[in-house]
């Protein structure tokens, strides 16, 4: 964001003098970011994919004509047809409904786990980066401990403790991904706190909390935001992987990993069982990756 302000000044936008100008400048900043973002065609594709995902999750009951839990044992393993657009599973449940309702789990787990890990990571990363010394050492060692677990393997350990379900999955993913956020923010803060404008704010009498919240955090936040966006995709994959392995959400819940796990037994005979939920996962992940790519380019040209 620093670069953007610099860019603006360089291209001759007037410097702020009054509060109204300040507001205008802010709006201009967001317009610039939006402009840079939309210049990236893949980012637009990503935005559309993410929007479709959110709409699907929000409007799930309106988009489907079958209950995702309703079994029809007289019509199992039906291939895609006019009645069941994406066929039925081994218990005769409508595949389309299950995929549509599965988007809810993806959205909830993806957003909640990343929100949680970002909040934890930002708090600890800011403490380590700003307080330095002993705090830094202790916090970063603790982060190292959590970093030492491969994501899925760590998550499985937590789920073994808490039991299967949506909440344990969210918690387990957050517990093993905050460390990266903390590291990112810490190193970003270490470089911004030496910047001239922070020195200037300090020289003007700015202290502790205000320095952190007004000057250091806003300028260190771009990498964290980009990372968080990418990581929603990672969380969606991790959540589906856990369910695929039988340690995610409960087995009868309409969820993509569960569906693919069922379809695994029908590879080569009823491929639509795993193919369609797989497409849903892939499009979701790509959506967040593309948006993350676009955000990175728009927020910080240096990161490109």
């Amino acid at each position: 964001m620093t670069q953007l302000v610099g860019q603006e000044l360089a291209t001759g936008t007037t410097a702020p003098t009054t509060p109204t100008d300040e507001e205008q400048r802010r709006a201009g900043q967001w317009r610039d970011i939006w402009h840079l973002f939309t210049r990236n065609r893949l980012a637009i594709v990503g935005l559309v994919l993410v929007a479709v995902l959110f709409l699907t999750a929000a409007l799930a009951p309106l988009l489907t004509s079958y209950d995702p839990y309703d079994q029809d044992l007289t019509n199992t393993l039906a291939p895609p047809s006019g009645d069941h657009l994406l066929g039925t599973d081994p218990l005769g449940r409508d595949q389309l409904s299950r995929i549509v309702f599965g988007s809810r789990i993806a959205v909830i787990v993806g957003l909640a786990s990343i929100l949680l890990s970002t909040v934890i990571g930002v708090i600890f990363g800011a403490m380590a980066g700003y307080l330095g010394r002993g705090w830094d050492t202790v916090i970063m060692r603790v982060a190292d401990v959590f970093f030492a677990f491969p994501l899925l393997i760590g998550a499985i350990v937590i789920i073994l403790m808490l039991g299967r379900g949506v909440l344990p999955v969210i918690l387990s993913l957050a517990i093993f991904s905050w460390a990266t956020v903390a590291r990112l923010l810490r190193s970003s803060i270490l470089s911004t706190r030496e910047a001239d404008y922070v020195m200037a704010a300090r020289a003007l009498g700015g202290t502790g909390w205000r320095l952190v919240t007004r000057h250091i955090l806003p300028n260190s936040f771009a990498p964290v935001l980009v990372f968080a966006t990418f990581n929603v995709g990672v969380a969606v994959v991790a959540e589906a992987s856990l369910s695929f392995l039988g340690v995610g959400v409960k087995a009868d819940v309409p969820e993509w990993g569960n569906m693919i796990a069922v379809g695994r037994g029908y590879v080569g005979t009823s491929d639509y069982l795993w193919l369609f939920p797989s497409i849903a996962v892939v499009l979701t992940v790509l959506g967040f990756v593309f948006v993350g790519d676009g955000l990175r380019d728009a927020l910080d040209p240096k990161l490109r």
Binding site: L42, R141, V142, D144, V145, F146, A148, F149, P150, L151, L152, I153, I156, V157, I158, L160, M161, G163, G233, V237, A238, A240, S241, F244, L245, G246, V247, G257, I260, G263, R264, V267, G268, D271, W274, S278, V281, V282, L283, V285, L286, V289
Partner: protein, 309 residues
């Protein structure tokens, strides 16, 4: 360099102690009674037998005592006895570790070879058809979860074309191809992107221009001057990505019925066989941390600037 190594090794030991403690604390408060899920659970319902079993596995000791005993034994390479077969965990996991390591080895070879090759092509032929093609392919590949790739490969090469085994590990080198590719593919895409980026950056450096200016053939400039420096970030990345590798191997082994520690973990979870779970997770953490240490040291050896800071 020596102080650097010592400092990093001490750090590593602290991390390992912390990680094993987290693991142990989690499994200690696990709901459910592991004794109840022991083999021969009919007999285990007899309180006297159950008490004897609890004694045998030290389940009645306080957390810290159990943890201390675990660390002591683990440091001596002893992971205790499992609940299902009552055999030493090491004896059970030994051959499985070998199987997993073989698969991982092939996977890393595919990963590095494919990733670096594609990255070099894309960077050297920048903006050509191949560059666009590789960049697009690697961008899309990132969205593919391991289990989707595994099922796609099974469907295509084992069932559609019937050229490779569907699962198992009894067909020699042929049985390695699909699972190893499954683990490696997404990571290879990331390696290719990283390789392209760093190589493009290095190709703009002054020393490369000098090398070109003094009339060295392009091939020599690339292999002697550019690649040496461009490969360092890729090396670091491989260390970090190893965790993803372990997670990927877990799913891949389950899909391809590969008799390694990944499959063993999935089975142990179903049986609540804690000693096996603890053993496998502890091994993964140790391997992950040690590999990162090696990468750090290699990095410091290759790039003198790191040691100084």
């Amino acid at each position: 360099m020596v102080t650097f190594i010592i400092r990093r090794v001490i750090q590593m030991v602290i991390v390992l102690l912390g990680a094993t403690f987290v693991l142990f604390a989690c499994l200690f408060v696990l709901p459910g009674d592991p004794i109840a899920s022991l083999a021969g659970s009919e007999r285990a319902r007899d309180p006297a037998v159950a008490a004897e079993l609890r004694q045998r596995y030290n389940l009645d000791d306080p957390l810290l005592v159990q943890y201390g005993a675990f660390v002591w034994n683990f440091a001596h390479g002893d992971l205790g006895e499992d609940y299902a077969q009552r055999r030493p965990v090491n004896e059970i996991l030994g051959p499985k570790v070998v199987n997993s390591a073989k698969l991982a080895g092939v996977a890393i070879l595919i990963d590095v070879a494919l990733g670096i090759f594609a990255g070099i092509i894309a960077a050297v032929l920048r903006y050509s058809f191949w560059d666009v093609f590789i960049t697009l392919l690697t961008t899309i590949a990132i969205g593919f979860p391991v289990f989707v790739i595994g099922l796609l490969l099974q469907q295509t090469f084992a069932l559609q074309f019937g050229v490779l085994p569907l699962f198992g590990m009894n067909d020699g080198i042929k049985s390695y191809i699909l699972p190893a590719t499954t683990i490696a593919l997404v990571d290879a895409a990331l390696v290719a992107r990283l390789m392209r980026g760093t190589l493009l950056e290095v190709l703009r450096a002054d020393y490369v221009r000098t090398a070109i200016a003094k009339g060295l053939p392009r091939r020599t400039v690339l292999s002697r001057h550019a690649m040496r420096n461009a490969v360092i970030p890729v090396l670091t990345y491989l260390g970090i990505s190893f965790g993803g590798f372990l997670s990927g191997a877990l799913i891949t082994e389950a899909i391809f019925n590969w008799d390694g520690i990944g499959l063993a973990l999935v089975v142990a979870i179903q049986q609540q066989n804690n000693p096996i779970i603890v053993g496998i997770v502890a091994y993964s953490v140790v391997i992950f941390v040690v590999i990162n240490l090696i990468v750090d040291l290699a990095y410091a050896a290759l790039d003198p600037r790191i040691r100084l800071s």
